[in-house]
């Protein structure tokens, strides 16, 4: 049973053409994360939502935005993709209660190609 679902699995876009990646979860977790992973590199956190509160990492480019319309869904919008934005984008969820850490559950990722 899929718990963190990412669509599409593969996305091809043109340079400068806006693209949206989606993530949904059936775990009812209160925190959702977006990571970017480039080839041969470690995943890097872009931002996360703690409930409805958006938290941006300091070095995430303005080109990247996110929306979380409800608990289950979270979107990653890339307003003007550049060639350097080609990467695997991973969505993850976690439940944090009273500051207690719990493991993150990851989706399968969306591989973005920019032509």
């Amino acid at each position: 049973d899929a718990m963190v679902i990412q669509n599409p699995r593969y996305q091809v876009t043109q340079f400068g053409k806006p693209v949206t990646l989606s993530c949904s979860q059936t775990l009812n977790h209160n925190v959702m994360y977006w990571y970017q992973q480039k080839s041969s590199q470690a995943p890097k956190l872009l931002f996360h939502y703690y409930d409805k509160d958006f938290n941006n990492e300091a070095d995430t480019p303005d080109n990247f935005q996110s929306r979380r319309p409800n608990t289950s869904f979270c979107f990653l919008d890339i307003r003007s993709p550049g060639l350097g934005d080609a990467a695997m984008y991973l969505c993850a969820t976690s439940r944090i209660d009273r500051g207690e850490y719990n493991e993150q559950f990851f989706g399968p990722g969306t591989r973005l190609t920019v032509l």
Binding site: V4, Q6, V31, Y33, Y35, S40, Q41, A42, P43, K44, L45, H48, Y50, N55, E57, L90, A92, S94, I96, Y101, N102, E103, Q104, F105, F106, G107, P108, G109
Partner: protein, 113 residues
């Protein structure tokens, strides 16, 4: 500047033997550490974790050891099985963050029959 380092990109082990995967970190603010396993075309899957107040955590064939003074952790898999072949990444959580993981680059483990 990598705060979490896995210096061995790959490791090959014979089935039935012990696999030892290593990870070093630089940030003393990390207080929780996790190991993830990743198969091709899938997302990372949580394997085992350890809090900084402990030095060992065991779950079946998997044991994680933490040496805080050396800022080093290791994952032991005993006995190794061919199905364990995957990429293993360690990750650390900063104190005061909301579970934001800092990952290492991963070590590709190959267990040969």
């Amino acid at each position: 500047d990598q705060q979490v380092k896995q210096n061995s990109p790959s490791l090959s082990v014979q089935e039935g033997r012990i696999s030892i995967l290593n990870c070093d970190y630089t940030n003393s603010m990390f207080d929780y550490f996790l190991w993830y396993k990743k198969y091709p075309a899938e997302g990372p899957t949580f394997l085992i974790s350890i809090s900084s107040i402990k030095d060992k955590n065991e779950d079946g064939r998997f044991t994680v050891f933490l040496n805080k003074s050396a800022k080093h952790l290791s994952l032991h898999i005993v006995p190794s099985q061919p199905g364990d072949s995957a990429v293993y990444s360690c990750a650390a959580v900063r104190r005061g963050s909301q579970g934001n993981l800092i990952f290492g680059k991963g070590t590709k483990l190959s267990v040969k029959p």
